[in-house]
């Protein structure tokens, strides 16, 4: 009965049968190819078949077959030795040596001779090479192979058969001591010892290798890459070279090379296991849906591989990375939080809270404070020291304030429960939900008073709030004292004091700023703005001499940035003091300016005088007519000049102009101005108009351009079209003309990477002028949120908003089903509807509305006569007066909550009555 063959043997038998009728020369060629491919076993199979065929056909010995057998056996012996199979390697080597005896080196080709030398022991190779010296052309590769053999086997005495001048023998004297240093692992010294070796020497690769190893020791990856690049392809330590490549350039080393584990072990680079595990983890995560069980199985071994001493810390870090990636990859957070079971209970809770906190999307819809509250409860787990706990607490409070404020969450809409829980975190607070962010920041700064950025953010929060002025002054004064090297708080304080007409205090603050930063140009700028503010004050009181003197003081400071503003103020003062008769003189002065500056100065003049209460209306109408007459100048402007004409004033001029926006003065010319702008200037012009609320003008210009009407030939490129379409989508979406993400996605999907960046930048610019889901989508450049049902409603109604916040706060983010049920109930509720005026928790109560109105009217901080003028003008309209009286009756009990200006406006006779009563 024939012996049963194994699968491998059957395969070989099949291969043999397949090659039965193949000519021997062809088989020999295939065997050679296998040998070159580094597969000596296959090569040997082919050579044996050739031998069998030759014998069967009775032919004589095939030339070169012995040599090929020798090479294949030698190569196989090397492979076995590399695997640690020493005995098997020795046996195969003997077979190679047996074949080697019949080889005539002189008959070999140059390439075969190189292979032959490579596979010989140096004791045999050197004499053979020495005999070939006169007969063959010298080969650098052969000499390098011999040099490698010499360094490995150190049989230097065999070199005596070479000429004294032969580089192999001559340079050996330099190499010998260096090899001993290499054995000790002192690669830098060994490299230094080999300095005498020339680049052409057969030992030169060893000098390069020493440099590579020295770079490896020194963690110098770029040096290592440079050195490895110089090494010859057949350098004897090939596996070490591969491993070094994998260390310094992982992307290059991955090309189908199997790295040697013993080499990794000896180099201490055994990072492959870690990396393989990490890649397996990523593969499991990137499945759809992710293989969570596999992820959980891989986490502990990977954590141990990353940080064997503290695998728990590594596990926390891994969960953190996956948890933070959850939002971007839309993985359900619950699956990640379920893996917290890999950690001890208290640590798991702290990490879960932190992941939720970091991951929380502060959006138009929900400002979830529950994770922060939960994390604060577990602070001691991650921060054992009291000082660290305090700092962490400060960070969390700041994080809450920033995320709520930047996310646009309205404190009045987040629900009383949320506000109560936030107040619970702070200790002392104002008790006003509207000031909750400022309260959070104040509490945070109390814990970490050196947080400079925190102070700046607090100022930003307080800036828009009139009732917070005393608090703002306190914060600024605190900043001035706490950061004695910083001029910025002094400048801020000066600005603040100027805004409330505290000139002396402002000058003192500027003086302090000058001491801190003597060469800071901003100090003089601000001082000049202060003088202009004082001049405005004098002008508004009709003290024109004083106003003129202050203006001259500002001019004396010689601030170049203020030149256009000073011109406008001077012309305005002239008109106010001399009356409408001075218009012609003003016109003459303006005519002397270039067209763009003329138009800009006139627009600023109209903007400035338009807000002055006691200005002669004839002056205003003459100025407006003058501007209208200068319309023709527009055609002489370039696109850039048009943008400069429309662009808003710098923020520091807020004190001396009623508004920073110049574009509204030129609003009637919107379409004509836009027609003059092209290229990058176009988006700048659009941005200015969108910021001022002139969306219709922009929209019609975009429609015109996209339709190709009136657009200069070739001006509308596809990149510009994409930008225009984005602007159009934003405008149409904010008008409610389109819904969903389609309009945006279509633009983004068709864009290349560079254009996508332009679109992202444009979206970020437009975001502040939008609201709700659109704002969030533009901020994140992710438009799928516009497809949610809430987005269709244009955002969430305040009642639902509060309900979401409270449900999440109570039950955590997992309570989605409950939330949906609650929302459905609320949507069915008839009571939810438009703003209810009688409700005490009104979205924005009447008192706040009036305060905001006063903020916009620029009467804050005005003197009593000015205020009285304003009140008289405001109450001159019977309808307005009736409304104000009704308001005064209803809100009399909240008199103390009102600002000074509102009190004077609503209760103009109260002080007089009190005085009379006294």
């Amino acid at each position: 009965m024939p012996k049963k063959l194994s699968r491998q043997e059957r395969k070989r038998e099949q291969e043999k049968n397949k090659h039965k009728h193949v000519p021997p020369q062809h088989l020999l060629q295939q065997g050679r190819q296998k040998l070159e491919d580094g597969d000596p076993r296959q090569a040997l199979d082919y050579f044996k078949q050739v031998q069998g065929a030759v014998e069967a056909q009775g032919l004589g010995p095939l030339p070169g077959l012995d040599f090929l057998f020798f090479c294949a056996y030698a190569q196989r012996a090397e492979q076995l030795a590399a695997k640690g199979m020493v005995r098997e390697a020795a046996a195969v080597r003997n077979m190679a040596d047996g074949q080697g005896t019949s080889i005539d080196p002189s008959a070999l080709s140059a390439d075969d001779f190189l292979q032959y030398i490579r596979h010989l022991e140096p004791a045999q190779a050197i004499p053979i090479y020495a005999r070939s010296v006169g007969q063959r052309e010298s080969s650098a590769q052969v000499e390098q192979a011999l040099a490698d053999q010499m360094v490995v086997h150190r049989c230097w005495e065999t070199l005596s058969c070479l000429d004294q001048d032969h580089s192999l023998r001559r340079d050996a004297e330099i190499v010998k001591p260096a090899v001993a240093t290499m054995d000790e692992g002192a690669w830098e010294q060994a490299g230094a010892a080999l300095v005498g070796i020339s680049r052409r020497s057969p030992y030169a690769p060893w000098r390069i290798f020493c440099r590579a190893m020295a770079c490896f020791d020194a963690q110098d990856d770029s040096g290592l890459r440079q050195a490895l690049d110089l090494l010859p392809q057949h350098f004897i330590l090939s596996q070490t070279v591969d491993e070094l490549w994998s260390v310094c350039s992982p992307e290059r080393s991955r090309k189908g090379k199997v790295l040697s584990a013993p080499v990794q072990q000896v180099l201490g680079t055994g990072g492959v296991d870690r990396e393989q595990l990490a890649r397996a983890l990523l593969a499991a995560l990137h499945q759809d849906p992710p293989h969570w069980r596999e992820v959980e199985r891989l986490l502990p071994p990977l954590a141990k591989a990353i940080h064997p001493e503290e695998p728990l810390a590594a596990c926390v870090a891994l969960l953190e990375i996956i948890g933070v990636g959850a939002r971007q990859n839309r993985w359900p957070l619950s699956n990640i939080l379920a893996m917290q079971r890999l950690l001890p209970r208290d640590l798991a809770q702290a990490v879960a809270a932190r992941i939720e906190l970091v991951n929380q999307a502060t959006s138009h819809s929900v400002w979830n404070v529950a994770p922060a509250v939960a994390y604060l409860a577990h602070l001691n787990v991650e921060f054992p020291e009291a000082r660290q706990q305090t700092l962490a607490r400060a960070h969390i409070l700041e994080f809450l304030a920033r995320s709520g404020h930047n996310g646009g969450a309205c404190p009045n809409c987040v629900g009383t429960q949320v506000i109560q829980s936030l107040w619970g975190l702070m200790g002392e607070h104002s008790g006003d939900p509207h000031l909750v962010y400022a309260d959070l920041m104040l509490a945070s700064l109390e814990l970490d008073p050196d947080n400079r950025e925190g102070y700046r953010f607090l100022l930003e929060l307080l800036r828009g709030d009139t009732s917070a002025r005393p608090r703002m002054e306190r914060v600024l004064t605190e900043m001035v004292h706490r950061f004695p090297d910083d001029p910025d708080p002094c400048l801020e304080l000066a600005l603040f004091q100027y805004s409330r007409n505290g000139y002396r205090k402002a000058e003192a603050a500027l003086e302090e700023a000058r001491k801190r930063a003597p060469h800071d140009e901003r100090i003089l700028d601000r001082q000049a703005v202060g003088c202009v503010k004082a001049s405005d004050q004098g002008r508004n009181r009709r003290s024109y001499v004083l106003a003129q003197r202050d203006l001259e003081r500002a001019e004396e400071l010689g601030r170049r940035r203020l030149v256009p503003v000073l011109l406008v103020k001077r012309l305005g003062l002239k008109l106010m003091s001399a009356g409408s008769g001075a218009t012609a003189e003003v016109g003459r002065e303006l005519d002397a300016l270039p067209p763009g500056e003329q138009l800009r100065a006139l627009a600023l003049l109209i903007l400035d005088l338009g807000a002055v209460k006691n200005v002669d209306q004839r002056i205003m109408s003459r100025l407006k007519r003058m501007l209208d007459r200068k319309r023709g100048l527009l055609d002489r402007l370039s696109g850039g000049e048009v943008v400069s004409l429309m662009s808003p004033l710098d923020d520091e001029f807020r004190l001396v102009f009623p508004s920073l926006d110049v574009a509204p003065v030129l609003a009637d010319w919107g379409a004509r101005l836009l027609a003059l702008v092209e290229g990058d200037d176009l988006t700048a012009a659009y941005d200015i108009l969108v910021a001022c609320g002139y969306r219709a003008v922009v929209q019609s210009d975009i429609t015109r351009r996209l339709a190709g009407r009136g657009c200069p030939r070739g001006a509308s490129t596809s990149d510009q079209d994409a930008l225009l379409r984005l602007y159009q989508a934003v405008i149409l979406h904010s008008q409610g003309a389109i819904y969903g993400s389609h309009g945006f996605e279509a633009v983004v999907a068709a864009a290349g990477p560079a254009l996508k960046e332009q679109l992202r930048a444009a979206a970020a610019r437009l975001a502040p002028y939008t609201a709700g889901p659109l704002r969030e989508a533009l901020q994140q450049f992710e438009f799928s949120i516009l497809d949610s049902p809430f987005a269709l409603l244009g955002g969430i109604p305040p009642e639902i908003h509060a309900a979401i916040g409270e449900i999440i706060e109570e039950k955590g983010p997992q309570a989605i089903e409950e939330l949906i049920g609650e929302l459905s109930g609320l949507l069915d509720d008839d009571e939810i509807g438009p703003f209810d005026e009688d409700d005490e928790d009104d979205y924005l109560d009447e008192l706040q509305e009036l305060e905001q109105l006063l903020d916009k009217s620029q009467v804050r901080g005005a003197s009593m006569p000015d205020l009285k003028d304003f009140v008289a003008w405001f109450r001159s309209d019977p309808k307005r007066r009736r409304e104000l009286d009704r308001f005064a009756r209803e809100f009399e009990d909240r008199y103390n909550e009102m600002s000074r200006e509102l009190r004077i406006l609503a209760f103009p006779k109260r002080k007089a009555a009190a005085r009379r009563a006294r």
């Binding site: 360094v151 000790e184 090939s238 596996q239 995560l285 962490a392």
Partner: protein
Amino acid sequence: MLTHYLVLGLSPQASTTEVRPRYLQLVRENPPGRAPEYFQKVTAAYEALKDEPTRVATTFLGARQYADVEMALLDLVRARPSRRKGPGLKALLAAEGILDE
């Protein structure tokens, strides 16, 4: 983030006073001129852990800096400096199977 501690070769429990000396030691051993990439990595880690407030902030919100899970994970895996002390030539030859140990 653990990555920063691993780059500096410190335990997450190490005190703040240990951070600066360790950073200076690493920079001394691997000056920026010789190993610019490594210097960048070490400096970033030092900046994240240099004092108590930054360290707390890093622990608290440091993970936010990673937008890409893959990058964050591979950074963590590769953060620990390998025991980069090149062995002697004989050890390398033995590991490659060219010479018996």
